[in-house]
Amino acid sequence: MGKIVAATGNEAVAEALRQINPDVCAAYPITPQTDMMQRFASFVSDGKVDTEIMLVESEHSAMSACIGASAGGGRVATATSGPGLALMWEMLYVASGMRLPIVMPVVNRSLSAPLNIHGDHSDAMGARDSGWIQLWSENAQEAYDNTIQAFRIGEHMDIRLPVMVCLDGFIISHSIERMEYLDDNVVKAFVREYKSLNPLLDVENPKSIGPLILPDLYHEYKRAQHEVMTKVKDVVLDVAEDFKKISGRSYGLFETYRLDDAEIAVVILNSAAGTAKDIVDEFREKGIKAGLLKPRLFRPFPYEEVAHALKNLKAVCIMDRADSFGGYGPLFMEVSSALYPLNDRPIMINKIYGLGGRDFMPQHAEIVLDELVEIVKTGKFKTIKEYIGVRE
């Protein structure tokens, strides 16, 4: 079943898109995503997919094209990075407000200024309120698996929402790793035939999508978006269960690593979680009960489940590869909101790391876990939010 390959993150996600064979893809190059849609453009040229590809003039137009195709009743994908996602911002809200299940891999990249092409999470965190479901991926395998599952999640008849699949720019998009591809027919059967919901053009039953709605009903539309988000968690888990049957790989709302009996832990997204797991192992070898939680579903955020997973810790460091300047890191804000309702909560600190592609090194995880050990020992912490790995 399937095959084992050496592939980059971009290559893996392009392969998933080839297997899914969407009706329409909009493509606009932006580093570090470029090579993903470029590979897909080759699949189109080589006749390996039936997709109508649109080489558009900007990301604003890319997402607009996706909206047009999805509203027209097609299965639609595109991909972007950093400033490209920022340029789509207006359209992101249109896509989710129209309940269009577009799938978009986001190869995470920092935002200007200063101009930087490398990976951090500022792009997707900036889009966290846009009404899109967000799945995050530690490596190429997870990016591939999440892309396939994203179609099932977004297209679920109870959901019908657009989905972002996040993977770290360059660190994952351009690194080759060992991974497993599923067979084409297995993926095809898993994602199923696309069923459109209320597509234009339906002459028997004409309708408008995204019309002007003023204070009389706009509020209700937004509440509907809020309500559908509350159903997403169950669908994500159902789809993950089905996916396990075809792949043998388990997915949840988040991944826990040696967390069950842990006293200290880090909460960390994407590729840096892989680095941090090694250091958790080292601390375990020293007899220190360290653990890790890696969110997968960031929107909607699984507050109760995260609180349950972290409730027995004595101290936890939430690590952000993005900053909300003047606030805490975005992941910290979610996790602290999750833990707030508990009577007894771990001490929480927030580290900002790896902006603009700054490497997250094993020693950074060591520093953080050492600090948590000290916090547990003394019951005191020096500061809630701090940058680490800074050149002074």
């Binding site: 190059p29 080489l55 003039e57 400033p83």
Partner: protein, 249 residues
Amino acid sequence: MMKKLSKMPESLKPVHFRFCPGCGHGILHRIIGEIIDELWVREKTIGFAPVGCAVFAYDYFNFDVIETAHGRSPAVATAMKRLLPDRLIFTYQGDGDLAAIGIAEIIHAANRGENFSVIFVNNATYGMTGGQMAPTTLIGQKTTTTTQGRDEKATGYPLKVSEMLATIDGVSLIWRTSLDLPKNVISTKEAIRKAFQYQLDGKGFSLIEVLSPCPTDWWMSPQEALSWMRKNMIPVFPLGVIKDKYSER
């Protein structure tokens, strides 16, 4: 001792260009540096760096440079020139920056007749991201997103931005040149000097389109790239003055 006939313009930093072999950007940077020296305006020049291969303009130009978001230079330059009307302000934009993502900004800056100069580098591809189709890509030209050659039915025609902008009343000077031959390099210098002089004289919007080789993304040697330009690109994008509001009078 031999007489020194040539030296680096003061408007360029004494550093090596990191462009690919056979790329036109180095020649163009040198021309711009020479003109700014010759016009004695280095101390009042502000350049606008694009997103694209010329993003590192600030590493080479020895005067103030601002980096803008992809395609937005004409809007940013409009405001800066209005605030600082005595400065020489030019944008340096590729075909991705100007003809694709930033097409709205350039049209409206031209329509307002803004008094700054635009250097528009056309190499018929998206260079920095690795040779994808640009709006200026020729019919049949192979790129990484049109691997069977550009098909006008799916992706349209090579966009002739200069001819399009020349229809706008607010425009003063539009001139297309090329870097394929020494004589064309010389006329490129003449064109840019004229554009800068128009700006200094308050004559309004000017754009110099420079056809420039990209051997790397055309999959050619530098020499083949120059022949390819002459054979394929110049017939689609003919050289010469396309509009000069002040010579018509």
